[in-house]
C-alpha cells in the first residue's frame, strides 16, 4: 500500500483510541473533559523520555506512558470531579493549559522545541493491535457492574448515589481509565511521528477528539470509532479535492458540528443499546 495511505490509516487508529477513551468519560459517564489531548501528551512525553533517556524497550515505554497519564488523571480527577458540567469542563481546560506550559518550560521535555530523534517503532499493525485491545477491554468494562455504574452516574448522579453506588470513586475511575488509553495513544503517536512538541497536545486537539465523539454519537464506542475515522480521513480526502478546503478544515469541523447538533444531535450512530440488549437477554 502507498505509504501516504498507511500513514492516514495509522493516524486514524491512534485517533480511534483517543475517541473511544474520551467516550468512556464523556459519553458513558457524562463528565465533560476538555483535557484529553493533555493525557495523550503526558503519555507521549513519558514514553519518549523513557525510551530515549533510560533506554527502556518500546513496549514497556508505551505502558509507562499510559500509566503516567492515568496517574495524572487520578491527581487531577480527585479534586475536580466534585465539580459538575461546565465547572468540570473549565477545570480540565485549566489543567490542560498548566500541563502545556510545564511541557513548554521544562528542560527535559525540550521546551517549545519538543523532542526529536525518537525511533520509529509504531506501525499500522501495532496501532490496530492496540485499537483492538482497547475496544475489547472497553466493551468488557461497559458490560460489567462498573460500566452500569458509569451509565447510572450519567443518567442521574443523585439517584445512583442513593442506590449505593460510590459515584465519586466511579467518576475518578472513568477519568483514570480514559487517561490511561489516551496516554497509550500518545506513546503510539510519538513513536510514529518521531517528533513531539507541546502544541501537538493542546486544547485544539482535545476539541478535535471531542468532535469525533459527538459526531459519532456520545455513549457509543463504535460511533466514536466512526467519528474518529471520518474526522481523520475527510480533511485528507478534501485536501486532494482542493487545497483551500484542507486549509480551512477547522472551519469545516465547526460547520459539521453545528449541522450535526441541528439535525442529528444524538450523533451518527446514536446511543449504544448494549445495556438494553443485555437486559432482554437476562
Amino acid at each position: 500500500m502507498n505509504s501516504y495511505y498507511v500513514q492516514i490509516l495509522t493516524v486514524t487508529g491512534i485517533n480511534i483510541i483517543l475517541a473511544v477513551s474520551l467516550n468512556l468519560v464523556t459519553g458513558f459517564t457524562g463528565q465533560l473533559s476538555l483535557c484529553h489531548a493533555t493525557f495523550m501528551g503526558i503519555g507521549a512525553y513519558t514514553a519518549t523520555l523513557a525510551a530515549l533517556k533510560l533506554g527502556i524497550p518500546f513496549a514497556v515505554a508505551l505502558i509507562l506512558g499510559a500509566i503516567s497519564a492515568a496517574l495524572f488523571g487520578f491527581i487531577i480527577g480527585v479534586p475536580t470531579l466534585r465539580l459538575k458540567g461546565d465547572y468540570l469542563a473549565i477545570a480540565t481546560l485549566g489543567f490542560g493549559e498548566i500541563m502545556k506550559n510545564i511541557l513548554l518550560n521544562l528542560e527535559i521535555t525540550g521546551g517549545p522545541m519538543g523532542l526529536r530523534g525518537i525511533p520509529k517503532v509504531t506501525n499500522v499493525y501495532v496501532v490496530y493491535l492496540c485499537v483492538t485491545l482497547v475496544i475489547f477491554s472497553l466493551n468488557r468494562i461497559m458490560h460489567s457492574r462498573v460500566g452500569k455504574s458509569f451509565i447510572a452516574i450519567r443518567e442521574d448522579e443523585l439517584a445512583a448515589e442513593a442506590m449505593g453506588i460510590n459515584t465519586a470513586n466511579f467518576k475518578i475511575l472513568a477519568f483514570v481509565l480514559g487517561a490511561f488509553y489516551a496516554g497509550l495513544a500518545g506513546g503510539l503517536y510519538a513513536f510514529f511521528f518521531r517528533y513531539i512538541n507541546p502544541n501537538n497536545f493542546g486544547f485544539m486537539k482535545s476539541i478535535e477528539i471531542l468532535s469525533m465523539v459527538v459526531l459519532g454519537g456520545l455513549g457509543n464506542t463504535y460511533g466514536a470509532l466512526l467519528g474518529a475515522a471520518i474526522i481523520t480521513v475527510l480533511p485528507e480526502f478534501l485536501r486532494s479535492v482542493s487545497p483551500v478546503i484542507a486549509q480551512y478544515r477547522m472551519v469545516f469541523y465547526g460547520i459539521l458540528l453545528v449541522a450535526m447538533m441541528i439535525w442529528r444531535p444524538q450523533g451518527i450512530m446514536g446511543e449504544n443499546k448494549v445495556m438494553k440488549r443485555r437486559g432482554q437477554a437476562a
Partner: protein, 235 residues
C-alpha cells in the same frame, strides 16, 4: 430502630436542620410533615449520607451511622426514594431495577427481590423492557419505589411520593406503601400532602424551618387544631 439525636445540617452557610431528634421504631410508618423549605428532604438526605451532618448523631439499631458513605448505609439496610422519583430515564425498567439491587451480588436473591417487586407492582413486569423515561408519572413513582426495594431495605425513606401525581394515583401509591409496611419494612415518609401522610402513618413529626415543632401519633396530629390550620388547609 432509627434514632436521630440533635442533628444539624448546613447547605453552605444556611442551616437547614437546627437540631432534629426523631425516633423510628421497627415496623412503624413514621411521617415528617412540613412546608416547602422546612428541611424535610435535607433530613432524609442526612440520614442516608447524601448530606453530611454538621453535628448530632444518627443511630441505626445501635450502630452509629452518622456521615457514613451512602453505599455503607444502603448496605446496612436504609434506602431512599428521592424526591421527584429520579429514575434513570434512558434505561429500561429492568436496568433500573438491576441498579437498585446494585450492592447485592447474589443473583438468586436479586431475582427473588425482583419477583417481590413485581408482586407489588405488576405493571412493572409488563413494562420490563420499556425505556423508563416513557413511563407515566405514577408508573415512574412505582419504579422508583420498586428500585429502592431491590436492595431489601429494613428502613425505606420516601421523599414526597405524592409529588406531581393525580389524586387517584396518590391513593394507590399510599395503599402500596401500607402494604410494603405490612410485609415488614419500616417506613419514614416525608410529605407535603399532610392529610395523606397523617392518615397513613402511625407516628408523625411536624418540621418547621429546621426544627421539630410537634410530635405525636399521626391520629392525634390529624385532629390537632394547629396542624389542621397550618397543614390541612382548614380554618
Amino acid at each position: 430502630m432509627l434514632r436521630l439525636e440533635n442533628v444539624t445540617a448546613h447547605y453552605g452557610t444556611i442551616q437547614a436542620l437546627k437540631g432534629v431528634s426523631i425516633n423510628v421504631n421497627e415496623g412503624e410508618i413514621v411521617t415528617v410533615i412540613g412546608a416547602n423549605g422546612a428541611g424535610k428532604t435535607t433530613l432524609l438526605k442526612t440520614i442516608c449520607g447524601l448530606v453530611s451532618a454538621t453535628s448530632g448523631k444518627v443511630y441505626f439499631y445501635d450502630m452509629d451511622i452518622t456521615n457514613l458513605p451512602t453505599s455503607d448505609i444502603v448496605a446496612a439496610g436504609i434506602v431512599m426514594v428521592p424526591e421527584g422519583r429520579r429514575i434513570f430515564p434512558r434505561m429500561t425498567v429492568l436496568e433500573n431495577l438491576q441498579l437498585g439491587g446494585y450492592l447485592n451480588r447474589n443473583k438468586s436473591e436479586t431475582k427473588a427481590n425482583m419477583e417481590r417487586v413485581f408482586e407489588l407492582f405488576p405493571i412493572l413486569k409488563d413494562r420490563l423492557h420499556q425505556i423508563a423515561g416513557t413511563l407515566s408519572g405514577g408508573e415512574q413513582q412505582m419504579l422508583a419505589i420498586g428500585r429502592a426495594l431491590m436492595s431489601r431495605p429494613k428502613l425505606l425513606l420516601l421523599d414526597e411520593p405524592s409529588m406531581g401525581l393525580a389524586p387517584k394515583i396518590v391513593l394507590s401509591i399510599f395503599d402500596i406503601i401500607r402494604q410494603i409496611n405490612r410485609e415488614g419494612t419500616t417506613i419514614l415518609l416525608v410529605e407535603q400532602n399532610a392529610h395523606m401522610a397523617l392518615s397513613t402513618a402511625h407516628k408523625a413529626y411536624v418540621l418547621e424551618t429546621g426544627r421539630i415543632l410537634m410530635e405525636d401519633t399521626a391520629e392525634k396530629l390529624l385532629h390537632n387544631e394547629q396542624v389542621r390550620k397550618a397543614y390541612l388547609g382548614e380554618a
